[in-house]
């Protein structure tokens, strides 16, 4: 009886977690006329890739009429998402890897105060800083530029990355570094050649968390990426709704394409991801 309850709970948990994603996948391969039928099917009678063809095709049809292809927009937004998320991840991890180590191992004036203030900004919602930031970015000419968006991402994700990297370094034995210092190695050399290689799993975890956060951003690019020059997928896809006709097949197909990078990360690097979440949440 208790085993049965356990398996029921397990089943509900799995269904709750991937059910909606599965439904989006089913929708994305269901023909348009089957989407508006009353019969509930867990897999379409006839599978179709026409929604994907609309995304990737050079020409596009909607309700029998030829309409403008969304591929130029879609590909540009996909590229923007990848570029900004990737650049933000590299910068954040690089800065946090060196900065986090300095906060743990080096003594300098104001160290603890600076660290507390920076981690404290985790409690500040994005909108509290976004309005003045918008005016700062306008006067710096950085609205709708990769530089502007990436810098904002870095400032948003750096506190958590620093927190994670600090806990990674704190868990490392100091004796290793001391041995290298006694052999005459400089502190920076020790960090690059001995500490960073050992911090690999922590760096990967930090990178994954940063990438996922940047990939999913919506509020920041909604304000700071008004045109296709830098507009990411998360801002482009909802715009498919605002036309007079809502093409749910297309939207679900676009959504499925947009979740490919996160899903790949979850499949191949889930160990690091969970480690990072646990380290970031506890302590």
């Amino acid at each position: 009886m208790r085993r049965l309850g356990f398996y029921a709970a397990l089943g509900i948990l799995i269904l709750w977690s991937i059910g909606p994603v599965y439904w989006a996948l089913v929708t994305s391969v269901t023909p348009p006329n089957a989407l508006v039928s009353d019969i509930l099917r867990l897999w379409p009678e006839q599978m179709t890739f026409e929604h994907y063809a609309k995304l990737f095709g050079a020409t596009s049809t909607s309700q029998g009429n030829e309409v403008q292809s969304v591929w130029p927009q879609f590909s540009q937004a996909f590229f923007n998402s990848l570029l900004t998320a990737f650049a933000a991840t590299v910068l954040t991890v690089l800065i946090a890897a060196f900065g986090g180590w300095a906060f743990v191992r080096l003594r300098f004036p104001g160290r603890d105060l600076i660290f507390v203030v920076i981690v404290g900004t985790l409690g500040v919602p994005a909108y509290t800083v976004m309005i003045p930031l918008y005016r700062i970015m306008i006067s710096a000419g950085l609205v709708d530029t990769y530089t502007g968006v990436v810098l904002i991402y870095v400032s948003a994700f750096l506190p958590l990355a620093l927190w994670l990297m600090r806990s990674v370094y704190q868990a490392m034995p100091l004796s290793l570094e001391e041995a290298a210092w006694l052999d005459g190695a400089s502190k920076l050399y020790t960090l690059v050649r001995i500490v960073l290689p050992l911090a690999g799993p922590g760096l990967v975890a930090t990178a994954i968390l940063t990438f996922l956060s940047a990939w999913g951003q919506f509020m920041v690019p909604l304000v700071f990426s008004p045109t296709l020059d830098t507009k990411p997928l998360t801002v482009l896809i909802p715009e498919f709704v605002t036309r007079n006709y809502v093409d749910y097949g297309l939207m679900n197909a676009a959504g499925i394409v947009a979740i490919v990078p996160p899903v790949l990360l979850v499949i191949f690097l889930n160990r690091f991801l969970v480690q990072g979440l646990m380290a970031g949440a506890s302590k």
């Binding site: 208790r2 356990f6 709970a9 397990l10 948990l13 799995i14 709750w16 977690s17 909606p20 994603v21 439904w23 989407l35 508006v36 039928s37 509930l40 060196f98 900065g99 300095a102 300098f108 160290r111 600076i114 920076i118 900004t121 409690g123 500040v124 919602p125 994005a126 909108y127 509290t128 800083v129 976004m130 003045p132 005016r135 700062i136 400032s155 750096l158 620093l162 996922l212 999913g216 951003q217 509020m219 909604l222 998360t234 801002v235 896809i237 909802p238 709704v241 749910y248 939207m251 679900n252 959504g255 979740i259 979850v266 499949i267 889930n270 969970v274 979440l277 646990m278 949440a281 506890s282």
Partner: protein, 300 residues
Amino acid sequence: MTSRFIPKRPLFGQEARLGLYLTAPVILIMGVLVILPLILTVVESFYRVEQMKQGIPFIGFKNYANLMLDKDVLKSWNNTFIYVVIAVAIETLGGLGAALVLNKVKIGRRWLLAVVVLPWCLPPVVNAIIWLWIYNPSYGLLNALLRSVGLISESHVWFNDRFTGLLLVAVVHAWRMLPLTAIILLAALQSIPANLYEAARLDGASAWRQFWLITLPLISGGLAISLSQSTVFAFNLFDEAWILNGSSIGTRSLMVQVYMSAFQNMKFSLGMALSIMAMIASLIVSAIYVLRVYKETRFD
């Protein structure tokens, strides 16, 4: 006379200089892009800063006073409080259940964890679009499922009812954030020594009593963390409300209201004042949790 021969000492030692070099990017980026705007937000919330009007006169607490009287703003406060209550309840109960299940699973736990964290990893916008289709009044899965089990006889337009709308938006948010609670509580569960349960079993304690007397008190630290995280995130709910129901007043959250005041009506300082009030409220609520959980579960 002799002072000329004393070499000029640098302001900081070698170690301090290296420390400052390595943290300079952190200080620079956070200073210019977070701390400075935060200070500006606080200061300018006492001025009238609007795109359409000339000058920025000092107006004291007038922005705040206007916000207290604005019907839409009051309603969005109300909505946000409802979001927080529903989302935190679902995330905490569901997250605890998920953590208990995960803790029991022996085979393939890694893969089950991957499945459970998946919703958290996806872009919130895509989540909301997936659920928007599920909630679709004519062809959505929710109506179809409820009809097929006979709970409803005809399809509902879910967002016609304010409370149902709030519930559905909160469910999407909770779907995304539940994994975080589950992971935090799982970490707490794994730190409970197994011999405590053995001793309790020898004393004849039921599974239920073991849960109340051992599990719950020992994961209270994790609960406090997850509760305050859920609260802060639910306070800042934006993406789900915006995608699912746009600017409709029935489901408008505080952050949607801030966005509309600042970036649609271009009343910057009004938005700033509101965002400060929201921040303070969310921090107070989460601080209350932490203190209460800490007090009630501490053993002396």
